[in-house]
Symmetry: C2
Subunit: 456 residues, 2 copies
């Protein structure tokens, strides 16, 4: 029965295959291209399209666009999706989008411009178009956009046997489903049974006797971040989505939730680093430069602010140049300690581990950690400053500044993201800049100010 087992060597996207694909494209060898690409998973073909250069991609699409299907379109990165869609003959595009579940069509539509959205909506059957338009009526990044509308439901009084008979007669079951949702006569979900329990129970077993203990629903207008949270927190595999009246309108499965979790993480990471949200390695140079510029600009403003603090002490620096040599150390240590504290706080806010219940203790803890490490590095830098410049008082000044700045860094690292969250702003968004501004300004001011008072 070896024919059932797919040869794993046939499925891998490695450098050899990429090279072979590029050769086939150059030779305009359509059959060779088919043989190389056909065994690949749609996600790998999408990766291939993203990783090759623009000219190669256009040449590949000219030869092979008739083979692009819905799965490839749905896997492809936003950065090149418009380009791929424009390259498709209308018939191919129509067939591709008709293959897809409506939630995948919605996912594709969200990031397209209006003319391309029109192209895709026109390609759908009337029923699908209505379903997609209804989904697009939910707010962006809501559960309603994520859900698939095809659900598998059973009246709450059914038995396992009735359910299996019904499923065997159904013609349009979703591609993936893991539960049968029990609904009351008003279509309100009241519980669900896993397919595993249904399959392993006798035909006479009432469904309601094998429903899961833990049952949750999501409202269609809930933000998708909440969806990712409840799947992760409660280990859900699928979750019914209800409207404001509690009626079942769709279902979200764990693969969509995993996708959202992945995107939320990426967003947090990129936002913490001051990179635009939509950034991808496949973006073009100008687009990338444009995305990153605003954050650099904000950083420039804060760097100038820190420089204005330094400028207040020009006379002192002219008198004792060692101050200019040592001051970046105080600022840099504060910036690093602040980033540590900030990252832990942003992560804990995202996973909802930082709440009103432990806020006070966590703030105290960050201050205490700053104090302990501040004292340690005060000793180290006190000695370094003293030995390097042969000036004991200079060592004392940098030691004191180190303690103050590391405590401030710890507190700023937790207080800034918490205040941003309270204000309804994503704490990952600009916390980094605020925190390092605080540590730069405090670091320079305390070090230079103490030096002015003590040394000069």
């Amino acid at each position: 029965m070896a024919e059932l087992l797919t040869d794993p060597d046939d499925e891998v996207l490695d450098q050899d295959r990429i090279d072979a694909v590029l050769q086939a494209v150059e030779a305009e060898d359509r059959a060779g291209l088919d043989a190389l690409l056909e065994p690949l998973h749609a996600a790998d073909i999408a990766d291939l399209l993203e990783q090759i250069g623009g000219a190669d991609r256009r040449a590949l699409l000219r030869l092979w666009s008739h083979e692009i299907d819905g799965d490839i379109l749905s896997e492809i990165s936003d950065a090149i999706r418009e380009e791929v869609i424009e390259s498709l003959p209308p018939g191919v595009l129509a067939e591709a989008v008709r293959d897809l579940e409506t939630d995948d069509v919605v996912d594709i539509l969200e990031d397209l411009d209006a003319p391309q959205q029109g192209l895709i909506l026109d390609a759908l059957t009337d029923a699908d178009r209505v379903a997609v338009e209804q989904a697009m009526a939910y707010p962006e990044y809501s559960a309603g956009r994520l859900m698939q509308r095809e659900t598998v439901v059973a009246p709450e009084h059914w038995t396992v046997g009735e359910t299996i008979d019904f499923l065997r007669k159904s013609e349009h079951l979703p591609d993936q489903f893991y539960h049968v949702i029990l609904v009351d006569p008003r279509m309100q979900p009241v519980g669900y049974a896993t397919l595993g329990r249904i399959l392993s129970s006798g035909r006479e077993m009432p469904l309601r006797d094998i429903i899961e203990d833990s049952f949750r629903t999501i409202e269609a207008t809930d933000p998708e971040a909440d969806v990712a949270y409840i799947f992760n927190q409660y280990h859900l595999i699928s979750c019914p989505v209800v409207d404001a009246g509690g009626r079942l309108v769709g279902v979200i499965t764990i693969d969509d939730a995993m996708n959202v979790l992945d995107e939320e993480h990426q967003e947090d990471m990129l936002r913490l680093a001051g990179v635009g949200d939509e950034s991808s390695i496949a973006d073009r140079v100008l687009e990338t430069a444009r995305q990153r510029l605003p954050w650099l600009f904000v950083n420039l403003m804060t760097a100038i602010l820190a420089s204005m603090v330094i400028a207040q002490f020009e006379a002192e620096i002219a008198q004792l140049v060692a101050l200019a040599v040592l001051m970046p150390i105080v600022a840099s240590m504060g910036g690093n300690a602040g980033t540590q504290s900030l990252t832990v706080a942003v992560r804990a806010l995202a996973t909802r581990d930082l709440t009103a219940a432990n806020m006070g203790r966590v703030i105290w803890r960050e201050g205490a950690v700053g104090l302990i490490n501040g004292l340690f590095f005060a000793v180290v830098m006190g000695i370094v400053g003293w030995v390097w410049f042969g000036d004991q008082a200079l060592g004392l000044v940098i030691a004191a500044a180190m303690v103050v700045n590391l405590v401030v860094a710890g507190l700023a690292g937790i207080l800034v993201p918490v205040m941003m969250e309270r204000a309804g702003v994503d704490p990952a968004l600009a916390s980094g800049t605020f925190v390092t501004t605080v540590t730069d300004v405090v670091g320079f001011f305390v070090f230079l100010g103490l030096a002015a008072v003590v040394l000069l």
Copy 2:
């Protein structure tokens, strides 16, 4: 049928419930505590234990430790798990771990000290202990540690009817399963069928006619990062795990893979920020300070290195103090641009979007982005420097330093993590420090060096 629907208000862990729990603990009201905690999901009880203070937690455990079950143990953060396990009477601990699937026991064992591992192993039945010890024989962070050993298999020649009859007769099916795995006589998996397809097909349908198109297996010794990747890339729900001989030894389900993905993300984020891996908001002050100290120490070394560059130009700074005022701006802009480029690169390496196929183009792109933004900020800072200090040449010097440092930042941001990956080191681990060291050193050197040549 309202009794089927769990009242959502009963299930939420909010501040009111936490306050009520703390009051019940203080009043030693065991019945009240039961009423408050019993409706909560194990994950929420674990969160509660993490979020309350140490004294409250110990008091709660004294009153309520007999109710701690396996699910709560498995949800609880590593930071407090040892404390909770120590508080449990041996009988409670034994019952709790016997409830769990072996993969969850392994997950708990991994982070415990030897005496506590012994406690738990002793509490298991002989069969489970053997299974757990076999799993622990796989390398840490491998698929073998993650998998559950209970699988649902069928010979490849079975029909849907035979499969359903077999499942109905089975006494020990796993809690969660989504596929029936088809195996050949040597127990090598040859495909799998979703429960949905099985349920919706007639009894006479051969299983092999309804297996999924796309079928992958994982080797038990594969690293768990690969597991997270293939679930995310190919949208798997479960995946058979095989030994070196290709025989089925277990199965990994998507909830475990989602957990790994979540942990990998957290690790990347914390490592990029120079925070120890195991960091959690529930760690104690001294533990946290100890985790963060080594990274701050590395940062101190690099900051001192940058200061030594500045020290080479003491004479120039004494002559023109404006240099001391402006030099942190050049370093700060380079550090930020480098972090942007680095974060995108680390993320792309983790998602395997950055490969040999596009490496050259991405390096070029980062250099070009650095050049474009460098030119923009050169103009801005050139004007600022000129106006602020009334010195046109000073403006030119800072402009030139800005261009150089932003190009270097872009290139360092991509080259450093790529080289670390090539060297087999996690690129998130120390890239940040290396990149900012490069941008600090280059920033100070180029700016002060140019100033020395041009201005003085």
